[in-house]
């Protein structure tokens, strides 16, 4: 109860094509994250699934039923928004119950579901408050609770953590992960933050300029990216890309992640000078200006003392070096 099929969905606003033919299959109980840079169409795709936006062509199928012409309220979905979108004039309890009330659910059943959801999200003390009397994290929990009480086939999250501060973001991320484990519901989550994508997803969909670049599990995307875009987007700090010709390689571009480079003071493949060092405690990011490779980032685990201007040699791990062709695709 909660599969989703997207078949060749296209969306254009006037002459601007935002989605250029999206095909996607989501099985029951999966946690799927749409990730991509801003303007890549990930939010639009979510809104098409929700029915808040009509697709220009293509079909959206939820649980085997074509819902392309069904209004949002009848699709069996629930959505959590970035700006919480709580009804300012209603109490927490009524915020959560409104959708069910509109659908004609008996009051006792509404109360039962609100009880379950509010204990799950520890919202019981706030049930009679209005949104204005809650903090940002509490508001987002109410918004999640409002989605939970509907017992939807599909949960849709539209960048739900973007308005929270860093500490709350981690907590709420954890809560969403636990919620998914407990409800075993299908969830679709949009974010531009690859850390959220990596930590939450069963399956990540990387979007760019209205097209799907790659679909796969977090480790699959990290270990075997299909192309230069995915390789650069997943992983932080970003993968180093070096012009193949400068290294005397046949491939157009050579890619190596900062954590797959080792440095040595005496010898190595690429000689360079330290431009800047970032000390994060657990690891150290070095920016090296190399003669052959240009400006590269090296991530060293633990503390590493390097003076700005010092000469260092960086060596890539050959087993974890990626080669990209002229079309950006990875060469096997």
């Amino acid at each position: 109860m909660g599969s989703l099929n997207i078949e060749n969905v296209k969306k254009a606003f006037g002459p601007v094509e935002v989605l250029k033919g999206i095909n996607l299959e989501v099985t029951d109980g999966e946690f799927v994250v749409f990730v991509g840079p801003s303007g890549c169409g990930k939010s639009t795709l979510l809104r098409v699934i929700a029915g808040l936006e009509d697709s220009t062509s293509g079909r959206v199928v939820i649980d085997g039923a074509d819902v392309s012409a069904t209004p949002p309220a009848k699709r069996g979905i629930a959505m959590v928004f970035q700006t919480y979108a709580l009804y300012p004039h209603l109490t927490v309890k009524n915020n959560m119950g409104l959708g069910l009330k509109q659908a004609g659910t008996p009051a006792a059943e509404i109360d039962r579901r609100i009880g379950i959801a509010s204990s799950m999200l520890s919202l019981e003390p706030y049930l009679s408050r209005r949104p204005a009397e809650l903090s940002g994290g509490q508001r987002q929990r109410v918004a999640i609770g409002r989605a939970v009480v509907r017992e939807p086939k599909l949960f849709l999250f539209d960048e739900p953590l973007s308005n929270l501060d860093a500490a709350l973001r981690v907590n709420t991320r954890l809560e969403i992960a636990q919620l998914h484990r407990r409800l075993k519901a299908t969830m679709i989550y949009v974010t531009h933050d690859q850390v959220e994508a990596m930590t939450l997803a069963d399956k990540i969909v990387v979007l760019n300029a209205g097209k799907i670049e790659q679909i796969g599990g977090p480790m699959e995307l990290y270990n075997s990216p299909a192309n230069e875009f995915v390789a650069g987007f997943i992983g932080s700090p970003k993968m180093n890309f070096v012009d193949g010709a400068r290294l005397g390689e046949t491939a157009k571009t050579i890619g190596v992640r900062p954590e797959h480079l080792t440095v040595d003071a005496k010898s190595g493949a690429w000689k360079g000078t330290v431009v800047h060092a970032e000390h994060l405690g657990a690891d150290t990011n070095l920016y090296l200006d190399c003669e052959k490779a240009g400006l590269i980032t090296v991530r060293i685990f633990g503390v590493y003392n390097a003076e700005t201007g010092a000469t260092l040699y960086a060596t890539p791990d050959p087993a974890k070096t990626y080669r990209f062709g002229a079309d950006g695709k990875v060469l096997k």
């Binding site: 209004p71 309220a73 928004f81 979108a85 009804y87 004039h89 509109q102 659908a103 539209d158």
Partner: protein, 279 residues
Amino acid sequence: MSTATSSLPRTIGAHAVLLTYTVIALFPVIIVIVNSFKSRAAIFGAPLAPPTPKTFDLIGYTTVIGQGDFIHYFQNSLVVTVASLFFVLLFGAMAAFALSEYRFRGNSLMGLYLALGIMIPIRLGTVAILQLMVASGLVNTLTALILVYTAQGLPLAVFILSEFMKQVSDDLKNAGRIDGLSEYTIFFRLVLPLVRPSMATVAVFTMIPIWNDLWFPLILAPSEETKTVTLGAQLFLGQFVTNWNAILAALSLAIMPVLILYVIFSRQLIRGITSGAVK
């Protein structure tokens, strides 16, 4: 505590300017109210003096109240103003919601067309309006006035409200749609309460010209049953003799209802401003 922006001479200067303006703005109103409590001889003898026990006279008010129709004129003015205000706010807000919320062909053209009325005074169309009202048999009815004033107030209302409606969060409206609220419920229950401060602004701008208008009551509804207060006050303005006591008393009374409505709306204005500040 003195900061760079609040030195003493500056404060005095600013207050002097503001107080001068306040005095100039309030002077005619005060004169009208003060003189309405004086005897006829005292009005002409010393127009600027406040009423003393000797010159105090309520003859103006007794004349106005005694003229039984005056209560009726008040009623007419109130009906016309409140009804027009209601329709302007209702239709203005609905049009503004449609313009700001829905994408349709000719949206911006429609917005321009609806706002065009701000630039063209409705009085230019008086002859055509009169012909229209005669043809539809609405002359000497309050309906005629309400229709004209609704038309007069709509352009500004649509213009201001559509700007404010654009600022209402899309997520909130979408959350309503997912919860199965109809577009009408979204409009009345979610959007309208959030734009209440701007509705109050529009209400104040719309209400005052309607209440004070003399032109359309004179042309469209001059009959005894449909006279408004401003038109009724003309009763005491004779060709040879003018009953100044009565006129001043009538005008003083006419200020009251607008003042009350203004206070009601301005409280909304202030509440809107402060509630916006703390989010």
